[in-house]
């Protein structure tokens, strides 16, 4: 069984500044993986390179054995790599339900155009029920027909996460899900994420600055420093590692 995600020898530089320097990372099992590191460690760049927003200068990225490092964003999304954004992006003019439905629809242009002419209901009802169920998981079912613009910031975050989950990804990249969320709601957010993970049992890769949040959520931690992977392991292990402590303090 090939690893779910295998990154080897990845380099990325911007105008002379090296953001990723020979990154190697293998994720073999489903789980919640936390990606941490001091500012400038390369976490966001690694995210961008994994999902295709940036193309690596060199190196390989394998998704279940298949090489994807040259594919564009939408191709990788269809293969099963979905992400949320740090600034929280949802379709504000669409209802919560439509946000989730849009995520589930087959995005291939051919399929969409054929559907224009055939317009059959097909498995519509099942998809609708599933979408409502996902919204209910994060207590948004009451807002199913409200535009996303009407939600609070925290609610939009949850909408973004379930929309992405609805695409049935193999890897879900969460970019700082706790940022901007009211501290009193962080425990709720963490529990929601755990609940969602139990739903799908896929790979969650979470970039986070909030140590308490990520340490209590993740089963594995990956530490980056100066464009490389410094350490990985269980939270307690990583927190005790002298290398990691030095990287943060030094």
């Amino acid at each position: 069984m090939p690893a779910i995600l295998e990154i080897a020898g990845v380099r990325k530089a911007f105008a002379g500044i090296v953001a990723l320097d020979d990154v190697a990372l293998t994720i073999a099992q489903p789980g919640i993986y936390g990606l941490i590191g001091p500012n400038g460690a390369g976490k966001t760049t690694l995210f961008d390179v994994i999902c295709g927003r940036q193309l690596a200068d060199s190196g390989t990225i394998r998704l279940a054995g298949e090489r994807i490092e040259a594919l564009r964003v939408h191709r990788r999304a269809r293969l099963g790599i979905s992400r949320t954004f740090q600034e929280c992006r949802v379709l504000l003019e669409e209802t919560c339900l439509d946000n989730v439905l849009f995520a589930t629809q087959d995005k291939r242009l051919g399929a969409e155009l054929v559907q224009t002419a055939t317009r059959s209901t097909r498995a519509r009802d099942a998809i609708l029920a599933e979408a409502r169920r996902l919204l209910a998981l994060v207590n948004l079912d009451a807002y199913a027909n409200a535009p996303a613009a009407a939600l609070s910031y925290g609610q939009r975050r949850l909408l973004e996460i379930v929309s992405v989950l609805a695409t049935r990804p193999r890897i879900l990249l969460l970019d700082e899900p706790a940022s901007g969320v009211n501290p009193t709601l962080l425990v709720t957010l963490r529990d929601f994420l755990r609940r969602l993970y139990d739903e799908r049992q896929i790979v969650f890769l979470v970039v986070e600055h909030n140590m308490e949040f990520i340490m209590s959520l993740a089963s594995h931690i990956v530490v980056m420093h100066q464009g490389r992977v410094l350490a990985q392991g269980a939270p307690a292990e990583v927190q005790a590692s002298p290398q990691v402590i030095e990287a943060y303090l030094g």
């Binding site: 939408h74 999304a77 003019e93 669409e94 439509d98 995005k107 559907q115 224009t116 992405v164």
Partner: protein, 328 residues
């Protein structure tokens, strides 16, 4: 406009329009104005799909209408094809030109893309004006025949008469309107709406943004081609002035005035644009000053046009204690 009520309303409106020549048989001038409005409404639907639903600004769209117009004109004038095949040919050629333009240009950033559409419109118009051997140059191609009368058994529709051609124009418009409806309601339309709201999200959810933009740009150009063909058949002549830069700006105004992103926007905008000046009977320049001012005011205060204002009004009147009130 998800309510079936809206669909019933549109069907009723169409039925009313079809009955107009029978209800008011003497109003030939009004019929003429409405027919002209329909000739603008068709390319406006194309621009509406492009701008209102997908968010792409095209400032040279009447250029594509011209391509369709001249194609159809040449076919009909030389007796090579009837009205419907010529219309289809016009759509195909205009669509092909749209595809050729879109392929290299849709990848550009939005400011650049807008400038390119402007340039394309000007280039196309220059070609219409100067390729005398093909387009007749500045004089254009006069003498375009109307389609042969249609024998329906119960009655014969003579397209050389105002009522007959009005029905023809209305039918062409209805067909394009139906196409607009199908696209907007489909998954393809939903992807377009996503692209308009947030391209990054659309791509992250698996949408091939470039392919979608290219597809809608081509369809939009083809629709403009249909409109152009209809217009020159109505006017019985094809001339470059019908497709110059000013006309492209008028088309933008029609879409904005009626309401970009609304199904009925193009029709309402076209009727107002054509009919209102006739009703007001003021000097041409003052009319245009007023239109310009309306455009600026719309941009500032009512970017969703008349349909948008109507929708907001209906929403306010029919929604009590909405979610909006609890979460401003």
């Amino acid at each position: 406009m998800r309510l079936p009520l809206a669909t019933l309303g549109v069907l009723a409106l169409l039925a009313l329009l079809y009955l107009l020549p029978i209800i008011a048989p003497g109003e030939l001038y009004a019929l003429h104005i409405l027919t002209l409005a329909l000739c603008y409404a068709v390319p406006a639907i194309g621009l509406n799909l492009l701008f209102g639903y997908t968010g792409l600004v095209s400032l040279g769209h009447m250029g594509f209408a011209g391509v369709g117009a001249y194609t159809a004109a040449l076919l009909m004038k030389h007796g090579l094809a009837g009205f419907v095949p010529s219309l289809v040919a016009g759509a195909l050629v205009a669509g092909a030109v749209g595809l050729l333009v879109g392929l290299p240009c849709l990848r550009l950033r939005s400011h650049f893309f807008i400038v390119v559409t402007l340039a394309i419109g000007v280039i196309l118009n220059t070609l219409f004006n100067n390729l005398d051997w093909l387009t007749g140059g500045a004089e254009g191609l006069p003498g375009i025949p109307r389609p042969q009368p249609l024998d329906l058994g119960l009655m014969v529709i003579d397209f050389r008469r105002p009522q007959g051609f009005f029905w023809l124009a209305l039918t062409v418009f209805a067909a394009i309107f139906l196409l607009q409806h199908l696209i907007v309601r489909s998954d393809f339309g939903r992807s377009l709406a996503a692209i308009r709201q947030d391209e990054t999200v659309a791509a992250a959810r698996g949408v091939d943004v470039f392919a979608h933009k290219l597809a809608i740009f081509t369809i939009s150009a083809a629709m403009a081609g249909v409109g152009g063909a209809l217009k020159v058949t109505f006017l019985r002549a094809a001339a470059p002035l019908s497709f110059e830069l000013m006309e492209s700006i008028n088309l933008v105004m029609i879409v904005i005035l009626g309401g970009a992103g609304y199904l009925l926007g193009p029709l309402i905008g076209a009727i107002l644009f054509i009919a209102l000046p006739e009703a007001l009977r003021v000097a041409n320049e003052l009319r245009l000053v007023v239109f310009g001012a309306i455009l600026v005011l719309l941009a500032l205060y009512a970017p969703r046009g008349l349909c948008g204002l109507a929708a907001a009004l209906i929403h306010r009147l029919t929604t009590i204690g909405s979610l909006h009130a609890r979460h401003p």
